[in-house]
């Protein structure tokens, strides 16, 4: 596996907060779960209508998703298994490596 399979089960989740309350909830969750913010550049930019993509580890993704559901915040799973996506991105390389 590339990167020693360290991204197995990680997810990338998109949230577009519909109001300030949702934005605040997402900021707190992002801080507590130490997500890797793909966009915007930092947690301070998370605001109403700001497209927010977070990478979250397998364990934390269940916590994040259940919190979002409880808070009735809409989300979309952009990448459901990051390791597979990493392997797929450079398909030619991993097959080259295997060769």
């Amino acid at each position: 596996y590339l990167y020693d399979n360290r991204y197995a089960g990680d997810k990338v989740i998109r949230v577009v907060p519909e109001n300030d309350k949702e934005a605040e909830t997402l900021k707190i969750l992002s801080q507590q779960l130490q997500v890797d913010l793909w966009q915007p550049g930092s947690i301070s930019y998370i605001s109403k209508n700001a497209i927010t993509d977070v990478r979250v580890t397998r364990n934390n993704s269940q916590i994040l998703l259940s919190c979002l559901q409880q808070a009735n915040i809409h989300y979309k799973v952009l990448i459901s298994d990051l390791q597979k996506a990493v392997e797929k991105q450079s398909g030619s390389r991993s097959s080259r490596n295997r060769r």
């Binding site: 991204y7 890797d36 497209i51 993509d53 390389r93």
Partner: protein, 308 residues
Amino acid sequence: SLSGYSYEIYHSLEEIQNWMYHLNKTRSDLVHMFCVGKSYEGRPLFVLKLGKRSAGYKKAVWIDCGIHAREWIGPAFCQWFVKEALHTYQSDPAMRRMLNQLYFYIMPIFNVDGYHFSWTHDRFWRKTRSKNSRFHCHGVDANRNWKVNWCDEGASLHPCDDTYCGPFPESEPEVKAVAHFLRQHRKQMKAYLSFHAYAQMLLYPYSYKYAMIPNFSCVESAAFNAVNALQSVYGIRYQYGPASSTLYVSSGSSMDWAYKNGIPYAFAFELRDTGHFGFLLPETLIKPTCTETMLAVKNITMHLLKKC
């Protein structure tokens, strides 16, 4: 050999540096490689000077890719640009005019340590790899470390944050080296272009404040024509505008510094996509992304050669 080098896959730092050495050796008519300094971990910071050698004075365009390590499509575009320039210099009148009248300084990988780290340890690493004396965290955001409104809104003073501005402006050897080069060549530089991902945007100053730049109409029209040229290829829409209002406010950015340093046209491209793949843009999309971006960059360059 160069003919075996694929521009439609991502390459490691070593492969890209070997590619640069090869071009420097085999295409000395249009390419000259030089080093502007060393990275934090001691790697050379290579730049390709592209253009028909001229005894006379020529204006120049600076293009850098890979300020943020995980944004691999950036370095892929820098390589694509060089390939296209060399391959079409004879056949394309526009490209011939560009390389005859201008020099292009191309820095395929700005953040060499971070890029290497994103290949070997953490695919989603963003920052440089400098060590912090007080915290266990590594790295500074190389796009928050420039001496322009340094560490103001949109940057963090905490060393573990992704937008950490560093202990002081130009603390990062990579930033210091490029800033020094651009300062030295400030009179020659007509444009500064920096390639990032992902968001599909073409941004211009200011990042650090909501205000209009003095030459707004010229820059705006260049951006408008560039995104339309880009869209004409595959229909991909890029937003364009001042970074502060189009993306978000951020301080210490290279684009703002270049503009403040006297370069009249400063742009930051946020290449594909808008999040379906994010940083993991598949290699199958390198060609369309670079093809459309090539048109945008040629459009901007031709704008520079006209009077605005």
